[in-house]
Amino acid sequence: MNHLNRYTQQTKLPEIGAHGQEKLKNAHVLIVGVGGLGCPAAQYLAASGVGHIGLLDHDTVDLTNLHRQILFSEKHVGRAKVEVAKEVLSQLNSEVSFTCYNLRLDENNVLGIFKDYDIILDGTDNFPTKYLINDACVLLEKPFVGASIYKYQGQLSVFNYENGPTYRCLYPNHFYRDSDNCEDIGVLGVLPGLVGVTQATETIKMIVKIGKVLSGKMKLLDVFNMTEQLIRFERNENHVMLAKNRPLQLEQLSCGVLDTEKTYLDVRESYEEPRLVHSSLISIPLNQLKDRYPEIPRDKEIYVFCQSGIRSEKAIALLRKAFDFDNLINVEGGVERIIAN
């Protein structure tokens, strides 16, 4: 297939042209988190002819992903997201090369992976990874296109672009209580599509060097009321220096429990915050309970919790039905209700 023919409709644009298309072909973009945001971004970047795309995610395709991650189909459920994404995107554009990272980003691998890319696209769903991406991009002087979603709302900005503001300049730190993910609180399927495609748009503009990049401004989209705001913010050298000087780490907030007499079962994933520090605490993520249920004592009351109380309820139903547990109590309202302030 003729390389330029394929992209005729975008090379016709005088700002892009054959020259811009060549820049896209030579670009290396890493997508961290191949989920609600990462999937649509990956689809448009591959279709647009970005020459090399890195796909990083540790997760497998779940049926509940399909309402928003429309890169995936029913037949893909259970398979590694990065492998499926590479397969599907290669069919979309065989001229693009892909590197798959079927792993979780951490302080030990982040620099080695990021160094091979020009732009990082953040499609992650948790704060510790967002701060890790920010700090690594500050150290390596690379821009990243950040975005996150909540129910019907999305936030989007290009961070660390040509000495522009960083994620920490917008949100220097976070409390534990606002950790939340789509699994617990819900999200309208089209929302990450809109936001992820906008991330791809900013990525293409930075590669071709056209237009105004969304740096120093946060786009705040509300599809429920269909309103949009652009919030201006500035680079704060103190926050940038902090990111440069601190050791790279996945910052996890930890705290004690309110009632130290009780025994707890945490069914959240290992990265969810806050982590509880307590001697009688068992930590088994929901999807591992089928294999690891023998670790749970049956001779005393166990308080089961997650982030909001929804997954823990599911966990209890599963353990009761499949393994006859009768000593489990759900912590309604989630982790927030049992931490010591």
């Binding site: 499609g123 992650t124 996150s148 936030q155 976070h174």
Partner: protein, 78 residues
Amino acid sequence: MSITIKYFGAIEDVTGIAEESVSLEQISSLEELKEHCLARYNDIKNLSFRLAVNQSLTDNANLKEGDEVAFLPPFAGG
């Protein structure tokens, strides 16, 4: 003095409304408005957020008639 306040994300869940207009005689600074809102919607204090006045992020500012203040929590979802 009439100020428009916009709430987003989990803060909107606390307030139950996306936007409101308040008329406050005794308030002249962003800090005072924040205290007023935290007293009114107690659970906001459990959330992290930044404030913007007229679409500009700021920690302190003097408010004037017609200003728009936004409560902006970070989102984690992806």
